[in-house]
Structures are given as structure tokens and as C-alpha cells.
Amino acid sequence: MEANLDMQMNKALSVQLNQQGQLKHFLTIDELPRTLLEEILDTADSFIEVGQRSIKKVPLLRGKTVVNLFFEASTRTRTTFELAAKRLSADVINLDISTSATSKGESLSDTLQNLEAMASDMFIVRHAQSGAPHFIASQVCPEVAIINAGDGRHAHPTQAMLDMLTIRQRKQKFEGLVVAIVGDILHSRVARSQIRALRMLGAAEVRIIAPNTLIPCDAESLGVSIYRDMRNGLKDVDVIIMLRLQRERMEGALLPSEGEFFRVYGLDEEKLAYAKPDAIVMHPGPINRGVEIASEVADGPQSVILNQVTNGIAVRMAVMSMAMTGQIAAKSE
């Protein structure tokens, strides 16, 4: 079956891209060419400017219907997507599916096909199962632009791209950068997408720093170097990305306690001093102060956490208008 591997890679790519190589769904950073990632960042730059006007709205998606399909609750991400869609002048519907149709036994396919029949143009999908947005884009609604807003442990590509935008704003380019990602890599869709984007955009080294219980199997294959010690791992890095630690990790016996985790892997000023003096500190939020990051660091001069939030809206506007463009072109193919 080896000979079919190439074919399948192309198949994976063709789910996300139209024949001209434009984005038509945004499911994962994997397999996207560097030029396309840069186009997302450049387009987002233009949308940042829109956010600074007195009327922060452009008419691009006027008359389009965007449905926020959150099968897993997330107020923050949903809100930024909603705001991004509204700033593009789209009509936005928020559906909290976790409490709606599927709990009445309706299958995922049926729910989605009903929504598609309501002339939806774009689904923003958050789902607890890895691959759910792929499934929707390839099997259920290929003609609706699907934007992955986080699926299981797999990918959170808009979060990764807003992080890339933040890094580019501060460091101008990715070449030569050493980036450390700290914490629960095993369960983190954000980390997977960030690693892929950093590798693709040319970062010199991506390090992951975590205890063995929070490092996925064969993590080296992601193209990262692995550190168990925070101080060694942070030595001379340009960017530190702290991940959120979920409380249920204690129940699964992955960690003994939040206290011990903070002592070893929490970012405080003492550990931060091992990084380069101009290193920036990032966090996808929401922050657990005193669990993965100390307040003085989160609110300190090296923190760019609030820039990330602003950039989140611009990146989502960029991705949404690009995916809509790709869908329009795909329909005339």
C-alpha cells in the first residue's frame, strides 16, 4: 500500500484546497504550503487596520450566513469568531449543539445537512473528536466552507495562526527563532498546530518542555526537541508559549497536583530569566494564574497575551474571507 501514500497525501490536501491551491476549508496547518500561511498572515495584517477604524466593519461577506457550530462549549473562541464574522458583515447564527439536536439522537450528518439546507455558507466547527471537521468537509458538506475552531487533540489552526501573527509582529521573521512550548503537549491541539506552523514558517528550533506523562508518543516525529527540565529548555529562547493545564489531568494520574506542576513547569520570573532578555511570553488563554504561569509574568512587560486576543479577530477574518474566496472559485471549477 506504500505506493498509495502519495495519493492519500494529495487527497488530504485537496480537502482543504481548491484546484487553484486556494483555501476552501481551513482544517489544519498540516500540508499547507508556506506561501499560503504567509498569505493568511498578510491578509490578517490588513484586517488589523480595519479593527482600528471608527467603524470596524467591511462589507466582504455581506449576505453570507456563518453558523457557529460548537459541539464543545467555548465562550471565548466562539465570541471571537462571531465578532470576526460580524466585522465581515456576515449574518451569524450561534448553535450550541451540545444541548441541541444531537442529544435527541439525531446524527451529526443529519444535523449538518439540515443546516446546509438553510443556505449556510460557512460552518465554524468546534468538536471534541479529532477529525470531526475533516469528516464534515469531506463527507457531509463539501460546499460549505468549514473552519476548524478546535477538534479534539488534533488541531486549532486559527489559534496557531494568530500566535504566528503575534510572533511576526514582535520578531519580524521566523528564521533563527527558538520557540519553547511548555506544558500539556499530549492533549493540546494548539501545540500541534503551532509546531506545524512554526516548522513551516522557518523557525530554527521548536522545543517542547513537559513531564513524560504529558508528551505524546513519538513526539520527535513532529519535528521538535524534547526537554523535561524547564531551565535547560528555556535557555536562550526567543518565544515562550505556555499551554493551559486542564484540572482533570490530576484525576487521570498524569500529574500529582497543580502545586507540583507549577513548581517544576510554571513560568515565573526566575525561570523566565533563562530565556533571551527580549523573549516574549504567550498563552492561548484562558490563563490559570499560579498553575502554569505566575501573575507577574502574565501581566509583565514580556507578555503579549492581550495582543494575541486582538490578533485573533484579524486572523479569523482573514481565514474566513479566504475560505469563502476558495469556495467561490471551487464552484466555478
Binding site: D45, K57, L61, M324, I328
Partner: protein, 171 residues
Amino acid sequence: MASLMIVADLLEAMSKNLKQYLETNNIESPAVIGIRSGGVWVAEYLHKKLACETPMGELDISFYRDDFTRKGLNPMVKPSSLPFETEGKDIILVDDVIMSGRTIRAAMNEIFDYGRPARIILVSLVDMGNRELPIQPDCVGQVMALSEHGQVKLLKNTDGTLELKQRGATK
């Protein structure tokens, strides 16, 4: 593509007309905004010639185009930059070529999202006719008639000089 008339002469004549227009209408400190990309080059010339104190603005109208549902987003979009308060301002909006009028409509929509200007004066280096919207320039360098599919484009040479190039036949 055939080279057209000397752009420098057109600009010279146009800036004279524009100065006249501003005097006649008592406009004292206007702001200049160029539409990317040709309009910006023309605007740079006018901005200098008029010795404007307000920094020049640049518009990228990609987000305001009315043909998104047919063509999608321009992948080369760059941020617009209006480094001054548009509210209550007299604005000189500059483009290289006016034809259907749709670009100007998009540009005016965009300007209004920054604030409500006192007035907008429209300047275009070339007027090709074939209007699809009721929009007319206040000041023009040259009026030309082209066949329906003809196109004229302003290009910037490596030495910085501007040149008008034409594709399609004159009527």
C-alpha cells in the same frame, strides 16, 4: 501594449487644474488619498505639488469590492492607511484611471468607515468613459475613448517615472 502620452505632461496640467479648482471652491487644507496602486503614485505627485501638510493616505479597496461573490478576495491585499482624522476633512480622492466608477464607490464607502468627511473631490489621471455608476471626476488629466474591452494601466518604471500602457483599440 502601446505606450501612450507622456504622463509627466498630464500630471503637470492636472495639478494646475486642481489648484484652480481648490481656489475656486475655497478649499484650504485638503487631505490627499490615493487608491492603490496607480492612484497612490498620482497622489504622491499631487501631494507634493500642493504642498499639503496633512500626511497622504492610501486606500486598498479590496475589502469593499462589489464583486467578492464572483471573484473572491484579492490575495495581495495590504492594509489601508489614513494617518489623519477624516471627520470633517476636505478630501482629494485620487485614482489613475476611472471607468465603471465601481472602484470609486468602494473607496468612498471605505472612507466613510473612518469618519464623515466634509467633502470628497475626485481626481483621475485618465477618464475612460464607460461609466456604470453616476460618479464623475472633478478634475481629469485626459479623457480617452476605448473599445469596451480596452484597458489602460499606469505603470511605474524602475527609474520612478510613470507610464500609461494600453491594451485594446481606440474607438
